[in-house]
């Protein structure tokens, strides 16, 4: 990972400024600079630590796969299948979702991306959830929430269309805040309060679900740093196994432990844990 190195002179100044044995109070603007430099230096150091940790974590996962051969993937089989009517409804819905994604939401997200060269959409090729995974999600919702109809279950899936914006650690908080405002300004409605998982031990990042105004289609925008995005990819196979009903009870704790280990190494960008944003209806009371 490419990261700007902290300038040595900055480090020296940062170390020198707080010490004032004459008892003269440090001006507030200097204290702000000192705090910023300290936070920035901690972030830069943590990013270097992540690069080294990622290498080690990949080896840990390889060892896990050797110990626990991949279980048969039984999702979508047997009692989790959709009945023919539900299956047809979801198939039709998937066609509409694809159309809205390609004609409406993706162009809007590309336009939003072009407004700031300092962050990018990543994993754009995965913006559409696969039909089988979508069916699996609908089937799980129907099974666990018996009142739902297949159409309701499909419309409640927030990430059938999903995007990820990736920021540098130092620009994460300000960049994300600006993008929330941009999304709102172009008419999208935040469907529920953003989900800030920077303090979670299983996942780090911020996920939001939005409603496109003309079509009322839900879509998801995830906000990551390069490290938190890489971590998500790195632990994806573990997550897939956790979701697989064929995975043994004995393997589960090791999978959760692996996800915890990955998360523990992700640097937390300055200010990220405090980010909150409510839907307009909640903000307006």
């Amino acid at each position: 990972m490419e990261t700007e190195r902290l300038d040595e002179a900055d480090a020296l100044v940062a170390d020198r400024e707080p010490a004032d044995d004459q008892g003269v109070a440090t001006p507030p603007e200097l204290r702000d600079q000192q705090a910023y430099r300290a936070e920035y230096r901690a972030t830069v150091e943590a990013v270097y630590t992540w690069d080294a940790a990622a290498l080690e974590l990949r080896q840990t996962w390889e060892a896990h796969e050797t110990k626990w051969p991949s279980p048969e993937d039984a999702r979508g089989d047997g009692d989790r299948n959709l009945n023919p009517e539900a299956n047809a409804e979801v198939e039709r819905g998937c066609g509409q979702i694809r159309e809205i994604a390609e004609n409406v939401i993706t162009p809007a997200m590309r336009a939003l991306e072009s407004e700031d060269p300092d962050r990018h959409l990543v994993g754009l090729e995965h913006r559409l959830k696969g039909t089988e995974r979508l069916k699996e999600k609908v089937a799980a919702a129907l099974e666990e929430q018996p009142d739902l109809t297949p159409g309701q279950a499909l419309s409640a899936v927030p990430d059938a269309i999903r995007f990820t914006l990736s920021y540098s650690d130092e620009q994460y908080t300000a960049g994300l805040t600006a993008d929330l405002e941009r999304l709102t300004a172009c008419g999208c409605e935040l469907a529920k309060p953003l989900k800030n998982s920077w303090e979670s031990d299983q996942y780090k990042g911020i996920n939001t679900q939005w409603r496109e105004p003309a079509t009322a289609q839900l879509f998801e925008v995830q906000f990551h740093t390069q490290a938190s995005y890489e971590a998500k990819q790195l632990s994806h196979a573990a997550y897939e196994r956790i979701r697989n009903p064929q995975t043994s009870d004995a393997e589960l704790p090791e999978l959760e432990d692996f996800q915890r280990k990955v998360c523990a190494k992700i640097p937390i960008p300055p200010g990220a844990t405090d980010i909150a944003y409510l839907p307009r209806k909640d903000r307006d009371g």
């Binding site: 919702a141 666990e144 739902l148 409640a156 996942y203 996920n207 704790p253 959760e256």
Partner: protein, 85 residues
């Protein structure tokens, strides 16, 4: 260690905290933990929904509830399916 069970109400845009769409339980035991949801087949089955939510999925919200509240949801699902308890 004895098993420790926490119950959760499952809520999304078509349900509410007053009338949750479903119920899930997390069972912590010596070897770790497992999650089960009460399903439309009227049995508890292994579920990955809470774990997905912990990994950022925003489809459902999960609210901790008491065992009595959980059993109330189970009873409602049984009743509405036409089954008696």
């Amino acid at each position: 260690m004895a098993e420790e069970i926490t119950y959760y109400a499952i809520v999304n845009e078509f349900s509410s905290r007053e009338r949750p769409g479903g119920v899930l339980r997390r069972i912590k035991h010596d070897g770790g933990q497992r999650d089960e949801a009460f399903t439309r087949d009227l049995v508890w089955k292994r579920s990955a929904s809470l774990h997905s939510a912990e990994r950022g999925d925003t489809m459902n919200d999960f609210y901790p509830i008491t065992e009595d509240e959980a059993m109330g949801i189970v009873e409602r699902i049984r009743r509405e399916s036409g089954a008696s308890s």
